[in-house]
């Protein structure tokens, strides 16, 4: 963990620079987003004992998406920006490059292996984002419709009354 601290600083710098390209204008938003980017890599490294990099990608995506949702609520700002910046260090840029490299140099079996692995990483990222945003949407719906909840309470009460009678 300690030998990785310079890497965390590079991640923070890279995500902070990306904030300018994605037109963040408030320093607090930028720092929150760049911290999200750093967190994703911190959790990726922290999950290394699992020994399965797809699980590492999945767990850190889930954590960083939850972080992005929290930050969106804190700053009352759209979640897209925080999420996009937070996921950047996990994007399999290296995978895409080495797939291309093996394709060019004609090593077909390596090419197929790396290509499928890259697709699997992209899938892990997508599933992580999907899990968190569907959970958030579920909670939102439960809070948004107290009337439905009230209706259920009313129904159960009337049922109980009928039973008592």
């Amino acid at each position: 963990m300690i030998e990785n601290i310079p890497v965390f600083i590079y991640t923070f710098l890279a995500c902070f620079s990306f904030c300018f390209i994605f037109k963040f204008h408030k320093l607090s938003h930028m720092i929150a987003a760049a911290t999200g980017g750093m967190l994703s890599w911190v959790f990726y490294v922290a999950c290394a004992p699992l020994g399965n990099d797809l699980a590492q990608y999945l767990i850190s995506t889930i954590i960083v998406s939850a972080y992005a949702e929290v930050m969106a609520r804190v700053f009352k700002a759209p979640v897209t920006g925080f999420l996009t910046i937070g996921i950047l260090p996990l994007v399999p840029g290296g995978g895409i490059y080495y797939t291309m490299e093996y394709c060019v140099s004609g090593e077909t079996s390596q090419f197929i292996e790396t290509g499928i692995h890259t697709f699997a990483i992209a899938g892990a990222l997508a599933i992580g984002v999907l899990v968190v945003s569907s959970l958030v949407r579920l909670f939102h719906m439960m809070r948004l419709y107290p009337r439905i909840k009230a209706k259920f309470v009313f129904l159960s009460k009337t049922l109980h009354q009928k039973k008592e009678k």
Binding site: P6, V7, Y10, T11, L13, A14, S17, F18, F20, I21, F22, K23, F24, H25, K26, H29, A77, P78, T80, G81, L83, T84, I87, L88, P89, V91, G93, G94, I96, Y97, Y98, T99, M100, E101, C103, V104, A122, L125, A126, V129, L130, S133, S134, R137
Partner: protein, 255 residues
């Protein structure tokens, strides 16, 4: 304000949201809520990444439709944030047309980062991602200048309205070519880390994160369009880098 003006202004706000890289469900929801606030709860909104269609029925049952086409979008977080706040304000206060116009013009007229800021941070992304992927400090220093060249190339191509597939091929060929060349001269050590780090500038970050969120919201067409878009970008990057690397290996054998 009359129905035509209402339709015009709500569609324009939606159009600007979509152009700033907002998700499809956010655009549809904003337009629907604004129209509902002005007394059209039955309004129909349909949007995909390249167009918006809005229809309302007036008091006589006459249908009014507005269609707006979008050519390309880029993530502009600050603009999405402000437009979102404007939508909330419109839904709660129901201001008149003049007030909405003024605040919309204010949002669209805010000053953007200048050319040099963008150039510096593109270069800084290249340098820090090179370090992140395991390059040496020498590599990152050279990547900084390759990032500047990439930015200049992209802004020049953007001025001539070249399509993005061609831009990605040329940009990634430039990056891969220069990285390999400097390594062949002995200035740098890991050309692969430099290429990966610098090409992070071209990787379709928004597309990747928004695809799942769109599909989840039920916008399958929008999700598929964005998926194809990001696959096209990835193919363009791979093609450009592949061409440059195999050509330069011919001149510098042994790398």
């Amino acid at each position: 304000m009359n129905n035509d003006q209402l339709l015009e202004i709500t569609t324009e706000i939606g159009w600007k949201l979509l152009k700033s890289g907002a998700e499809i469900y956010r655009v549809e929801e904003s337009i629907r809520r604004m129209l509902a606030a002005y007394g059209f709860p039955e309004a129909e909104v349909f949007s995909i990444p390249s167009c918006i269609i809005v229809t309302i029925n007036d008091e006589n049952g006459h249908a009014l439709t507005r269609l707006k086409r979008i050519h390309g979008s880029a993530l502009d977080f600050d603009r999405i944030d402000r437009l979102n706040n404007l939508c909330r304000h419109i839904c709660s206060e129901k201001p008149d047309l003049e007030t909405i116009r003024t605040s919309l013009d204010e949002i669209m007229g805010k000053k953007d980062y200048c050319f040099w800021t963008n150039m510096f941070f593109t270069a800084s992304i290249s340098a820090s991602f090179t370090l992140f992927y395991g390059g040496a400090f020498r590599d990152s220093f050279v990547s900084f200048f390759i990032g500047i060249m990439l930015f200049l190339l992209l802004s020049m191509l953007g001025r001539f309205h070249t399509n993005s597939f061609f831009q990605n091929i040329l940009g990634s060929a430039l990056v891969a070519g220069f990285s390999l060349w400097t390594t062949a001269l002995g200035w740098t050590i890991h050309y692969d880390k430099m290429i990966i780090g610098t090409l992070m500038n071209l990787v379709p970050g928004i597309a990747i994160t928004n695809v799942m969120r769109d599909i989840l919201g039920g916008d399958l067409i929008a999700g598929i369009i964005k998926l194809v878009e990001s696959l096209m970008v990835a193919a363009g990057i791979a093609l450009g880098a592949g061409i440059a690397i195999s050509t330069l290996r011919f001149f510098f054998p042994g790398i």
